[in-house]
Symmetry: C2
Subunit: 615 residues, 2 copies
């Protein structure tokens, strides 16, 4: 397109943004209007994308980090022929693919769900890393950010990562419209302020008038031709550009235009230009998913081993069998044991340093490109990435997250390092799987199983050694459990997972010595939970004790109750969990102090058994 | 102290760090040794602190962001006479105040619990902001960071905040020892790399050899005399400095020295120098807590009002009555309604822009200085600060967090903006209070009540209007509930909170029309939960339906079950919650699609009542 055509195309995007928001009576047209020229030039001249084949390996990748500007994105889709005029006007209606914020759950051209600001760039870095180091099909990654969201630390985690990795296939376009939701940003139109920051993190920067389509065109060309560095294009724009009633004015964020008809007239009326988006270059995926022999580690029953060790060994083995498995870690690979994967598969290992949001963001980006990522850090520090995991769930992203150093059982390091809320965090998220093994062979099997699941899969591992209780040939279906002790005389069931399984077995021995038979269930699959086995145990033994190295809310105890919330009778129940704030102490002292050791379990079991109605 | 004395004092700190870790057989001596000179000079010449009066308003504030270097901090406390030789050697033992990572829960000189990296500076910025804008007693804030933790985005949120606010009372000292936990950092000893980043965010920087005590001394003096900017001192150091067997070597993070005796000899043996820490200048708190008349907003029964509006009005009123209440918001004050406080009390309002970790970190810092902060953003985006809230709980910090836009009821904006996991997140944290009002008068009362509680207090507010159902004179004790419908013929109890209270009332009306009397409980206090009322309802009505605008895990439904996990009989139960991934739709459509509207409640109630055993 020539200059006049580009300008006219940008106006069409503005008009369509205004129309979509007006029809919905909801949405963010002013945030769309500021970036219309930026998107018009991108779609007309630079983006290489086949909208009929969104999975084409040569397609560029576009991420709208300022997801609230979705009307602009949808207007561009319409111009590209991917969305019809009538669908555009379903914006924000129930059942429409055109949600308030774009999501790949409904739209095949969206890489990742946005709407929580500061997440587009971290995910984009993951995609660009995949492009450089894994796919190597030459695609570019374009991320359109708002200026407000540059206050998010996650943006600077991503900037650091991209600069350090020399991701010259990555361009971030910052729509510096100077107005956030409630008023001016910290830096207004001071493009230099942003440029200095990106430069400090090793980026090439270009400052440009974001409404000068030719200048924007040149900036994109410069970004595409800059080697060795990612590029940040800092574009000075006006929010609501093109309509005097709203242009550069406060108090108009997230609101349809007061007079859409007048605005459309001022913008030159409705047009219906088609944009010919450049096709992607021919490309084929270089990583046909190899599927070799899986040589899982095997542990002997009775041997002592930490589940984190078993995880590391199993992941390395899985990496040998599956060419699509990649691993990322937050600079604690010696603790999580992800380093075992790194040693065997350095090409598929990504050190993310101490930046957990970027760790998860990069994993989401790689999953979007078809890789099967395992991202690891301490369970406690995955809370740092909670919002990223939440948005990954909105995306329907398939990622594996592994949190080590679960619970008080870590011992001396104290509460800052203890994962005590991770089960609650992961259980509450949509479509998650939560696994918590107690033994090395079980861990190895679950590491493999999780790769084949949908959605977010979480595995919780422990720091200390524990005895191997399962044979290497035992199977552990997700959604299952293992009944470790059972007899027809059982008067109570202890439900445990991870470290407390071993405490439960010791408690069962002690109670057995007192003539009290109890059942013991290893609930390694915390979500989904094995309702049938739990219900059977409740029916047969009358009462349950749950015991977990986790806070009492949202973890194993609550998961067990899930089996009894459909109107059926609920067993008598006692719940043991970590109710105090631990300090430093040895692992055994911690378990005792928290009241989740064998002695505490037995002590909780006795009164339940005594008060139970004789059947 | 002269140079020789400073050098010798630093060696003492190294020796005591080695001894503490050796006795514990656990801990991080090498990370302590790199920063020993930095701490020696600080304690000997620059810090102004009365260890006998940690609450002295003129005391400088020291935050050990690299909390794993706790042996160094404790060694310095010992030299200052605050900790005895024998207590030093209780390091990391059960019951000791000297935990693996320092915590104000046990030690009065610690501002905030650390151990999750990248949190010391955000909290320090909060303290420094309080110093500049609230306390005005002239104290300085010193934050000692590691180099690894500069990869955390939260550090750059803090750097941005401090630079923008010109916090020249804040100095960050970065112990650039080039080695992280598992190996070299990204930038090694490239001090310029860090300096460029801090400078870009508006900081003054000083690069220094961190083992040259005179140079360090000059750097601190320069920091203290630099006006208008915070200062970052980038100190080149060696991990394990002073002991050849460990100095600057990989693989020794978090491990006691292999031969402590030899190391102590190499460091010149045990000494017991006392350091005279400079006393603070005379100062008095300028903010005697004013306690004026509380003029809460009053809403008429039947009026329509959003709980977020009531929150904003009540907070503004509370600010009028209490001079120690401050508010912070993440650039969404027009949505959370924190802007109402900002208008009335601009001196006590802190705009944190879109940086939720810094938002919570600043609140923790202000709470450490005796202020009563209310920090607000969308409930969904508080997940961004999960790890900060977790560490605030470890600290025992008293902060109020308010999350608006709860649940699917927000409508068109879609899942990225919906708080659907916040109840689970806050319930699972230690010592929290979780409140979820359904009505404007109730909200106002709870806003006041939360200020007087210990620990972390969370209030969940809603976007849309709902009818006022309580009189302005009604009281809502924390831990209580309200029985809104009850009769002796009740055959079921509906437990709801927030928006679902109104749906529950409508369902009760519908069921009443069918001859089914049901009880309705407004469970506005989700944690602690009103066990007595729930148990009574279970006993009298036989079955419960819980209904919440939240995921089914960890929220209201699980809270209700807390009343029945002590071995007593549990009622038959049905749980309604958000089990799908919503898209865009109107609020009413969302409630219906999620199955938590009046019709869904009635549909869930009928079969429960039918199958219940006739009593």
């Amino acid at each position: 397109m020539n200059t006049r055509q580009l300008v006219d195309f940008a106006q069409q995007l503005r008009v369509d943004s205004v129309r979509a928001a007006d029809t919905a009576n909801s949405g963010h047209p002013t945030s769309s209007m500021s970036a219309a020229d930026l998107v018009a030039v991108l779609f007309a001249h630079h983006l290489r994308y086949d909208f009929e084949r969104p999975r084409h390996p040569g397609n560029d990748r576009l991420i709208l980090s300022k997801g609230h500007a979705s009307p602009l994105l949808y207007a561009a889709y319409k111009a590209a022929g991917a969305v019809s005029e009538s669908e555009l006007l379903t914006f924000r209606r129930e059942g429409s693919r055109l949600e308030g914020h774009p999501s790949p759950r409904r739209l095949p051209w969206v890489e990742t769900a946005t709407g929580s600001l500061g997440q587009g760039l971290p995910v984009g870095v993951g995609v660009a890393l995949a492009g450089k180091r894994l796919d190597r099909t030459g695609y570019r990654v374009w991320v359109l950010c708002g200026d407000s969201e540059l206050a998010e630390g996650s943006v600077w985690e991503a900037a650091e990562h991209a600069g350090y990795e020399h991701l010259d296939n990555l361009t971030v376009i910052v729509d510096v419209n100077r107005l956030g939701q409630r008023g001016p940003t910290r830096h207004g139109h001071d493009l230099d302020a942003y440029a200095r920051r990106f430069q400090a993190f090793g980026w090439h920067t270009v400052e440009v008038d974001g409404h000068d389509v030719d200048a924007v065109d040149r900036a994109y060309a410069e970004a595409a031709s800059t080697g060795g560095q990612p590029t940040a294009i800092l574009a000075r724009t006006l929010k609501g550009k093109g309509v005097a009633a709203v242009q550069d004015r406060e108090g108009l964020h997230g609101k349809p235009l007061p007079d859409a008809e007048e605005a459309i007239a001022e913008l030159g009326g409705v047009r219906d230009h088609h944009v010919d988006v450049r096709p992607p270059p021919a490309a084929r995926m270089l990583h046909a998913v190899s599927s070799g022999h899986l040589d899982l580690p095997r542990f002997e029953i009775g041997e002592e081993a930490a589940t984190r060790d078993a995880f590391g060994q199993a992941l390395a083995a899985l990496g040998g069998a599956r060419g699509d498995v990649v691993a990322l870690d937050g600079e604690v690979g010696d603790s999580t044991r992800a380093e075992l994967f790194a040693k065997e598969h350095p090409d598929r290992y990504f050190e993310c340093y101490i930046a957990e949001q970027q760790l998860v963001g990069a994993a989401v980006g790689m999953a979007a490109r078809g890789w099967v990522p395992y991202a690891t850090t301490f369970a406690a520090f995955l809370t740092r990435a909670h919002d990223f995991v939440r948005m990954a769930a909105v995306s329907g992203s398939g990622i594996n997250l592994v949190g080590s150093h679960a619970g008080v059982a870590i011992g001396q390091d104290g509460p800052s390092q203890m994962g005590l809320e991770d089960l609650a965090m992961f259980r509450a998220l949509y479509g998650t799987t939560v696994l918590y093994p107690c033994d090395a062979n079980q861990t190895a099997k679950l590491v493999v199983a999780m790769a084949g699941l949908e959605g977010i899969r979480y595995l919780r591992t422990s720091r200390g050694d524990s005895p191997v209780i399962y044979s290497p040939t035992e199977e552990f279906p997700v959604g299952g459990s293992k009944v470790l002790r059972a007899s027809s005389d059982d008067r109570l069931t202890i439900v445990a997972a991870g470290v407390t399984v071993h405490e439960a077995l010791a408690a069962a021995d002690a109670l057995d010595g007192e003539g009290i038979q109890v059942r013991v269930i290893d609930l390694y699959s915390v979500k989904p939970v094995d309702c049938a086995t739990l219900r059977e145990a409740a029916e047969e033994t009358g009462c349950l004790v749950t015991v977990e190295d986790h806070r009492e809310e949202g973890g194993l105890g609550d998961a067990v109750l899930d089996a009894f919330t459909d109107g059926r009778p609920v067993p008598r129940l006692a719940r043991l969990a970590v109710r105090t704030m631990p300090g430093s102490a040895s692992p055994a002292e911690q378990l005792r102090a928290a009241g989740i050791d064998a002695q505490s379990i037995a002590a909780a079991a006795r009164p339940l058994v005594e008060t139970a109605v004789v059947r």
